[in-house]
Every structure is written in structure tokens, then in C-alpha cells.
């Protein structure tokens, strides 16, 4: 028994130490750093717990980033969920070209976000892109999608959804394929409509998958910034700055590392709250078989 304990610790130690060194330790460091001011020439860093907090409270860019991020998450989560489920429901059944259609839905997922950003940047380019080509006959041509504050964030959101939906389709598809066929048969015998069958049988059985997808899309909605870095750099006028992008900007462009630390803490707290909320709301409705 003693020996097993030693062996156990020896085996987990290398991985756990590395993992903690870049996850748990920096989290603690971040909390500590957020309580201090950032050193600037002539003013060394000092312990001032309220200072960064005050700056945060008075920082309009932070509030805008938070608002943008909530809009970002608020659009990406439900649309990705709905689209991935619809895609899965469609390609779960047999029809001509099903394999090809699955491929079409899934392909964006394996492309790097940077490539996706380039593709969409081109797609949206005023004067060149297909969007303008299509809209031109309606007198709507030459619109700078990423350059105006009203359309930049929606365009960024579309890109995120395009990349994500096919990925989560896979999980719904997996769940649908494990569903016993006699359920469908029984529903057919009862004369249930397809909608009733979906609402009463399929949807409740999919709840664990929905919970899984929800949590992961929510985490993604706070992490997906690659396309923002490449396409808009948070602009125009901070219209596409979300929290992680703002952390990147404050930390690596203004080098205000201790303020970035407080922003990081805020982001982590927000993520924790989102996860807790979803567990609370959805877990009660999950029916495990």
C-alpha cells in the first residue's frame, strides 16, 4: 500500500508539475500581480490593491470589451448550437450526397483560424469579395464590412460560427447514432409527428450532448480571438475588442502587465460564472440513460 502511494505520486508528478507551472501557478501569480501597479520608468511597481480596480472601473474600453464579449457569446452560443444540431439531424438520415454534405459542413473546422480569417477577409473585401459581387446589383456594393462599427462585430461573429458549427455537429451526430431505432418505430406507430418525436424523444435524450456543446462553445466564445487579431485588431474604434483581445493588447502592446493581470482575473471569473450557470440550469434537465 505504501509502495503504491509512492509509485502513484512518482507517475503523476512530472505531468502535474508541468501542468501546474503553466496553469495553477500563473493563476496565483496573476492574482498577486493584479494587486500591484505596473512599473514604469521613475515609478517602480508598488502594492496598491485598489489601484488597478479603480482603473478598471473607469476604463471605457474594458466595459466595451465586456459588452462586445457578451454579444459575441450571446450570438455564437445559441446559433452554433442550433446550426450544429440542425446539421446533425439532416445528415443523420440517408439521402443522395450525404457524405459530401457532411464534408462541406465539417471542413471549416480543420482549417486554422488564420486561414479562415484570410478567406473571409477576401470574401468580405469591398469591391473584390463575393459578398459585394452578390449585393452590387441591389445597389448595396462597396460596403466595408470590417471597417464600420455597425458591421464589424457581426462579421467577426459569422466567421466564428462558420468555424465552430461543423465541429459540434459531430458530437450531435454521434449522439443521434447511438439512439435506439425502436424509439422512432414506436413513435411512428403512435402516429406522432416528426416535430413531436423530436421534442418529446430526441431533444431530451440529447441533453447531455447539449450541455457538453454549450459549455465548450461558451469557453470558445471567450477564447476565439485569432480572427480579430488578423482582421480588425479590435477596431474600428474598439468595436471588435473582446476581453481576451484586450488582455493581449494591454499585456503585449502597452506592456501594462499588472493591469492585464486584473483583466485576466475578470475573464477567469466570468468563465467560472458561465460554467456554473450552465451546470445549474442544464444539469437538472439532463436525463442520463
Amino acid at each position: 500500500m505504501k509502495r503504491e502511494a509512492v509509485q502513484g505520486w512518482m507517475l503523476v508528478l512530472p505531468a502535474v508539475v508541468l501542468l501546474a507551472a503553466f496553469t495553477h501557478w500563473p493563476t496565483l501569480q496573476t492574482i498577486w500581480a493584479s494587486l500591484q501597479t505596473t512599473a514604469v520608468p521613475g515609478h517602480p511597481s508598488r502594492f496598491a490593491p485598489g489601484q488597478n480596480m479603480q482603473n478598471l472601473w473607469a476604463d471605457p474600453v474594458f466595459w466595451q470589451a465586456l459588452r462586445n464579449n457578451l454579444v459575441y457569446a450571446g450570438c455564437i452560443i445559441p446559433v452554433t448550437l442550433g446550426l450544429s444540431l440542425s446539421m446533425a439531424l439532416v445528415v443523420d438520415r440517408r439521402f443522395p450526397g450525404r457524405g459530401l454534405l457532411r464534408l462541406a459542413y465539417f471542413t471549416p473546422t480543420i482549417l486554422p483560424m488564420i486561414a479562415v480569417a484570410n478567406i473571409w477577409l477576401y470574401f468580405f473585401t469591398p469591391g473584390y469579395g463575393l459578398i459585394d459581387e452578390v449585393l452590387a446589383p441591389f445597389g448595396l456594393g462597396e460596403w466595408n464590412w470590417f471597417g464600420s462599427t455597425s458591421t464589424a462585430l457581426p462579421a467577426i461573429i459569422v466567421i466564428a460560427i462558420w468555424k465552430e458549427a461543423g465541429f459540434y455537429m459531430i458530437f450531435y451526430l454521434a449522439a443521434l447514432q447511438t439512439m435506439p431505432p425502436d424509439l422512432r418505430e414506436a413513435a411512428a406507430l403512435e402516429g406522432a409527428s416528426r416535430w413531436t418525436y423530436f421534442r418529446r424523444v430526441v431533444w431530451p435524450l440529447l441533453m447531455p450532448t447539449t450541455l457538453f456543446v454549450c459549455i465548450n462553445v461558451a469557453i470558445d466564445a471567450f477564447r476565439l480571438v485569432d480572427q480579430i487579431v488578423v482582421i480588425t485588431k479590435g477596431g474600428p474604434d474598439n468595436a471588435t475588442t473582446i476581453l481576451l483581445y484586450y488582455i493581449y493588447e494591454v499585456g503585449f502592446q502597452y506592456w501594462d502587465t499588472n493591469y492585464a493581470a486584473l483583466l485576466t482575473i475578470t475573464l477567469l471569473a466570468l468563465l467560472g460564472a458561465v460554467a456554473a450557470l450552465q451546470f445549474g440550469l442544464l444539469a437538472r434537465r439532463v436525463h442520463y440513460r
Partner: protein, 285 residues
């Protein structure tokens, strides 16, 4: 199998209205599919046509591979690609070597603090290293590893995802097999290597594919931690190429984009089934 498949495809509400609904659904699905793949097709169209026909879609425009040659010549794409391949191999090998024993210990050994430690490890599923890039940058700086491949890789080597995935798989391997191997006189490491690892092969394939596509595509952390051509992975190289060097020569940028995604896309098309099954397996366990 064939029996259940037939039942599964039976339409619930038969009759003309049901049939029509079914067809509308299929047409809708195809429209979405076409819409979905359109940006990619548009990029491909642009990459295989000369720059001067870019504005305005013309089905009969002359084809060319010139843009690919130009992109290849304009940016050190081969170097970036080599960096990415080295980075991904490094992370793959290190994660397998580190996570396997940890997963085994969490699955099969009893030691004080195990369950608490496991819960602590799982926190990383949500608090991922890229969220902590400001602090991690300083740590890597203290280690003198800024702008190096190990510097990019290090924060990702201990993986909660890998440990969790392998632990779940190891737990499904019958304890009797382990006991039998122990009676044969196999030591702990020998049992892991000769019994657990071979039996968990499908999980390793799934885990490997997910890992490769994640690190091939990873961008933000490599962007902040690298600053030279000799180290930058393809994603960072592509981003810098598209923003700085090219102005707005779209055909060359789309060509470079396609070149840099080609290895992964070709691998995906070849191993499509494994890819999709891997993602499912990785997500569900």
C-alpha cells in the same frame, strides 16, 4: 445493422405532405452546404486565377498556378511549415510520455490525495494556458526560452485533456488482465507499456489527431512568444505574410493560405473517417 438502418430511415409521417417536407429539408440542407463551402471555393477560385481577373467572377478566366509559385517565393513558407512540424511532433511525443503514466496512476493506483489532485488537474480544461499568456510569457522569459520552439511548446506539455481521456480509457481495461500481467512478473512500467498502451490504441489515435490539429492551428500564444523566421509556426508566418508583405494582392495571399492549410486538409481527406470518429471519441468520453 441493416435492419436497424432501414427502420431508422422510415419517414415518420408518410404521405405526400411528408414527402414534400422531406424534400424541402434536403434542398435546404444542400443550400446551407453550398453556402457553407462557398468562402473556401471562392478562395480556391481566386488562387488559381491571375490577379488581373480577380474583380468580377468569370467562369472562363484562364487558370494558373503562378500565384502558388509567387507565394512560395515571397515568404519562407517551407521554413514555417518545418517549424510547425517540429513543434507538433515535440508536443505530441512529450504529451504522450507525460500523460500516459499520470493517467495510469489516476486510473489504477491508490494514493493519498489522488482524487483532489485529479480535480485540480481538470481545472485546466477551462483555465487554458492561452488565457494566462501574460504570466506565462514572463515564466518563459525567466527560463530564457522566448522565441524558441520549446518556449512555444512548454505551457501545453502537461495536458488535463490528455490525462482525462487516457484515464477514462484505462479504467475500461479489465483489472483481471492487469492482475494476470502482474502474476507473470511484469513490473509497473512494463504493464503500462505492454498492456495499457496497446489496448488504448484507438484513444491514442483520437487524442493524437485532436492534438495535431489543435497545435497546427494554434496562433495567439505562438504569436506573442516568437519573433523570428526560424521559430515562427505556419499560422504566425501566414498572418505576418498576409498583413505586412503583400499589400492587397489577394491571389497570392489566398494561394499562401491554401498552401499552409494543405497538409492538414490532405491528411483530413485521407483519414476522414478516423478524424471524425476521433473527434467524437475525444469529446464523449
Amino acid at each position: 445493422m441493416s435492419m436497424s438502418a432501414t427502420v431508422a430511415t422510415l419517414p415518420l409521417s408518410r404521405g405526400l405532405a411528408g414527402q414534400a417536407g422531406r424534400w424541402i429539408e434536403i434542398i435546404g440542407a444542400w443550400l446551407l452546404g453550398v453556402l457553407w463551402i462557398l468562402p473556401l471555393l471562392w478562395a480556391i477560385w481566386s488562387a488559381i486565377h491571375p490577379a488581373d481577373v480577380q474583380a468580377g467572377f468569370n467562369l472562363f478566366a484562364p487558370l494558373t498556378l503562378q500565384n502558388f509559385a509567387a507565394a512560395w517565393a515571397a515568404a519562407p513558407l517551407d521554413r514555417y511549415m518545418a517549424n510547425t512540424i517540429m513543434l507538433v511532433s515535440m508536443v505530441l511525443v512529450a504529451q504522450f510520455v507525460l500523460c500516459t503514466p499520470a493517467a495510469f496512476a489516476f486510473a489504477r493506483l491508490r494514493f493519498p490525495g489522488r482524487d483532489t489532485l485529479f480535480a485540480v488537474v481538470l481545472l485546466q480544461l477551462m483555465v487554458t494556458p492561452d488565457l494566462l499568456m501574460v504570466e506565462n510569457y514572463q515564466t518563459i522569459g525567466h527560463l530564457g526560452l522566448v522565441d524558441s520552439l520549446p518556449g512555444i511548446a512548454l505551457p501545453y506539455l502537461g495536458s488535463a485533456f490528455g490525462i482525462f481521456l487516457l484515464r477514462q480509457t484505462f479504467r475500461t481495461i479489465p483489472q483481471e488482465l492487469d492482475d494476470a500481467a502482474r502474476l507473470e512478473g511484469l513490473g509497473l512500467l512494463a504493464r503500462i507499456w505492454r498492456l495499457y498502451v496497446p489496448l488504448a490504441r484507438p484513444t491514442y489515435i483520437a487524442y493524437g489527431l485532436v492534438l495535431v490539429s489543435f497545435h497546427w492551428n494554434n496562433f495567439l500564444w505562438p504569436l506573442v512568444i516568437t519573433n523570428s523566421v526560424g521559430v515562427r509556426p505556419i499560422t504566425v508566418g501566414l498572418a505576418i505574410f498576409s498583413t505586412n508583405d503583400q499589400g492587397i494582392n489577394w491571389s497570392i495571399i489566398t494561394a499562401a493560405t491554401l498552401i499552409s492549410t494543405a497538409p492538414l486538409v490532405v491528411a483530413f481527406l485521407l483519414f476522414q473517417r478516423q478524424f471524425v470518429q476521433s473527434f467524437m471519441r475525444a469529446g464523449i468520453k
